[in-house]
Symmetry: C2
Subunit: 310 residues, 2 copies
């Protein structure tokens, strides 16, 4: 196998209560990336379709993640990477994570899987560090593992796969304003009250319990964020109206996707998720701000080969 | 039914990462309480064996919890309560919770169950408020429900039962120094760093996932507390030595039970739990401080009638 084309799913990180620890992969939104083994060592980004991003490998998250991996494996050849970038940079649904995790996964495949998926996480995180200044794992973990993932600990790194309820769907609205992850981290407070902490870990416990027991109502009740959402939501035009409209048509809960500006809602069943999409669009249409919406089931596989391998 | 004798289990609250939200009930440690329907309205504590605690109903947690319940139900008679108090007050394994929750559960039984177990929680919390100044639910919830419980939210109150792994055992050492819950709350910081918060909710997520999947290793890795234990452990003589000794003989994890001074360790299997008991005792024997140790499986039933009802 000398060439592989992969689907790199978009992801929702944080998931209201799970700041920096929780994430999930989406089925219907993602990049495609073609990685080719070539004689020349190193990594080259040969083309990027759809987004204006750096081609220089050391300035591109896919390049940086791939180069980090190549430093630790035995490899006397190199890789050309062509990216069909369908997830918009700065959208809050894991654009950089899809590229970083997609690249290391594809390279690992072409190398004959010298590393486990667990072992790939830190290399993908190197790409995230380039993108946001922080090597966070809450987006790259679901890209690599699929489903819901929990980063229990960063030191040592400990990523746990969490059960995904069968009828859970996500609706996402992406207001097309750019919020850089680094900026949206900067506005966070570095101290929180113990009382808010107790509320947050109570909701994390409830969300994890709801996912394992497929208790959709408990999942919804747990989608509460007393710490980050009150601050970051100020950067998202119409956030409260989107949330209210989503809940009125039956969403289980609604919050900021990653560091925003995308907003996600969970629903039980595709039909409700589609109603939520209409409700979100009805809020945004009068604002005359460009936006995109997506409805998606949870991607249980994570990054995967598509369209055959040669 | 005019009289009922109940077993009121001891409980471990907090469970390292789950400050104020997590708890579990024990099989082998608990009070017995006999509650009798009598013509005279109100509640009387007729006897307390084993502890020097107030007999006056308005100053006794069982009395206060029972009186709170009687305010909300239709009842033209009263109750006499006799308590065989085997859980020492101030031990950190839910002495007040056993009395408060036991009393409301027994009275509800004698009344023909007008309230659900869920509905009993706030009345039991009224007893906790008398004991510690804070109406916390992390001990009374496992007394009432059995097993592991999560207080997802206090406002509104939302208690979730969490799956209990079959081979989980607890070992407890109770150094017989008194640490009042109110005092051990006072020394806590009211602000925590966001970074410590992230660690804490990562571990709560890991612990809940570990309980559902019966992943004992994950349960152990998640028994980490970056927020409360570093402060409260200073009040417990030999805490670090107990923890180290417990881990060396195979405990999954070790932390402060409730607000202390009791220390708990979890083990997979009774044999390891017994080895942990010996290891804990070997630390305490040279200190010449009085202590008690307990080994117990998790009580799945919570408070229950014992010895027949009349």
């Amino acid at each position: 196998m000398d060439i592989i084309k992969v689907f790199c799913p978009a992801t929702i990180a944080n998931i209201s209560c799970g700041f920096d620890i929780l994430g999930l992969a989406l089925n219907e939104v993602g990049d495609e990336m073609t990685v080719k083994k070539v004689a020349e060592p190193g990594i080259r980004i040969t083309s990027i379709i759809g987004q204006d991003l750096p081609l220089e490998a050391t300035k591109n998250v896919a390049g940086v993640a791939g180069l980090a991996l190549l430093q630790d494996v035995d490899c006397d050849f190199g890789f050309d990477i062509a990216i069909d970038k369908r997830i918009k940079a700065g959208s809050g649904i894991g654009s950089s994570a899809a590229s970083a995790a997609g690249a290391v996964w594809a390279i690992n495949e072409l190398l004959g899987r010298p590393l486990s998926v667990d072992q790939l996480v830190p290399y993908a995180m190197a790409g995230e560090k380039l993108a946001s200044g922080v090597p966070h794992a809450d987006n790259v973990a679901p890209v690599l593992f699929g489903g819901f993932t929990l980063v229990r600990s960063y030191d040592p790194l400990d990523v746990i796969r969490i059960h995904t309820p069968k009828e859970l769907y996500a609706t996402i609205i992406h207001p097309q304003i750019e919020v850089k992850t680094a900026d949206s981290r900067r506005i966070l407070k570095t101290k929180i009250s113990l009382g808010d902490g107790v509320k947050q870990w109570g909701n994390v416990g409830g969300l994890i319990a709801g996912l394992y027991t497929e208790d959709y109502d408990l999942i919804g009740r747990s989608l509460v964020d007393h710490i980050v959402e009150p601050i970051r939501s100020m950067l998202i035009p119409g956030f409260e109206a989107i949330k209210k409209a989503s809940m009125e048509v039956g969403a289980l809960g609604c919050g900021i996707s990653g560091s925003g500006p995308s907003v996600f809602a969970f629903s039980k069943g595709l039909e409700t998720a589609n109603s939520v999409k209409q409700a979100m669009e009805a809020v945004y249409d009068p604002l005359e701000l460009p936006y995109e919406t997506h409805v998606s089931g949870v991607n249980l596989d994570g990054v995967r080969a598509v369209g055959g391998v040669q």
